[in-house]
Amino acid sequence: MTKLTILISAIVGLVATPALAEIGRIKNASQGAVNVIRDGKSLSAKPGFKLEEGDVITTKAGQRVGITFIDDTRMAVGPSSRITLDEYKYDRARQTGRSLTSVNRGSLGVDSGNITRTGADKMRVRTPTSTLGVRGTTFVVEVT
């Protein structure tokens, strides 16, 4: 390998940001496209849209959104909501991981998946005042 090739490789290695992996997918949405905020930019998301760690999902009045995650967790975001996918780490071979989702406002229905099998409270949901540890179950969180 020439010195130039090594130099270019080093620069690319420093600059390139690895693409974030899909953690879930928007499956259904009433009232048209959903707004997803990623890296400060607002994206128009339709069914099939691939979600990434850090995404913020906002819904309009009267809008509902269904989401599946790669650990088989399912979520339903209610109207006038803002939900942040703060953390989502999942080893797809071992089926273990951890997640943190914030309900900033509105409502969120959850049917939990494989992450809850990893250990107690590996799946967490945060509200402005509290943190919930999920132990394999179906529930609704409201922040009004």
């Binding site: 992996a21 899909e22 997918r25 499956k27 259904n28 009433s30 069914p47 099939g48 509902r64 959104v65 269904g66 989401i67 599946t68 790669i70 088989d72 399912r74 979520m75 339903a76 209610g78 797809r92 071979a93 071992r94 089926q95 409502s107 229905g109 049917d111 939990s112 809850t116 107690a120 409270d121 967490r124 949901v125 509200t127 402005p128 005042t129 509290s130 943190t131 919930l132 540890g133 999920v134 132990r135 394999g136 179950t137 179906t138 529930f139 609704v140 969180v141 409201e142 922040v143 009004t144």
Partner: protein, 199 residues
């Protein structure tokens, strides 16, 4: 860690909560979907204490400090409506293999093809995950390789039929499930399989 029983918290605050609670933050444990147990939710306090909800329709009003808990008589229709918006779960398909084998019958592929075609002309909204498994006989590395080979073969057969399967959705899960479930070095046909999940 100390556990604060939900029933005690409910008894202490029940009268106040009967008046209802407009606004604020609430979490409600619902009856489990399908055949699962109701499970549990814990409200985790900063002091290490936790309030556990473990009966269907128990509701905690969240606030700084301890939550207030009450038992609802039935599911709030608004919650039922929200839960009805959860994406439909599609039953996973399973292909079994002989010991160390990775051959698949034409019938099995035809069944998979029919299932995928039944979902409609646009499959781009679906994630098709193909995961291979082995039993726990043999080394971890060999079993990862064998399970990946099984998954790759199913994925290729579906790709040959025109379906798009992303590389990252073809997964070799080796013996991890088998070790977790029945222990190491156990021969078990149920783990010699590939599952196809459509989300």
């Amino acid at each position: 860690m100390r556990v604060r029983p939900a029933s005690l918290a409910a008894a202490l605050t029940g009268a106040l909560l009967l008046a209802g609670c407009a606004g604020g933050e609430r979490v409600t444990l619902l009856p489990a979907a399908q055949d699962r147990d109701v499970g549990a939710l814990a409200v985790l306090g900063e002091d290490g204490e936790e309030t556990v909800l473990d009966t269907a329709n128990s509701q905690a009003t969240l606030r700084a400090g301890s939550p207030r808990v009450r038992q609802l008589e039935s599911v709030d229709p608004a919650y039922a409506e929200l839960i009805n918006s959860l994406p439909t779960r599609i039953e996973p398909q399973v292909i079994q293999f002989a010991t160390a084998g990775s051959s698949i019958s034409a019938d099995q592929i035809a069944n998979l093809k029919a299932l995928l075609e039944s979902l409609g002309p646009d499959l781009s909204i679906y994630q098709i995950e193909i995961a291979g498994y082995t039993d726990s006989v043999g080394t971890e590395q060999d079993n990862v390789r064998l399970s990946q080979s099984r998954a790759n073969q199913v994925a290729q057969l579906l790709r040959d039929e025109g379906f798009e399967i992303a590389d990252e959705d073809v997964i070799g899960r080796g013996e991890y499930d088998a070790v977790r479930t029945v222990g190491d070095n156990q021969e078990s046909s149920r783990f010699r399989a590939v599952t196809i999940k459509i989300r």
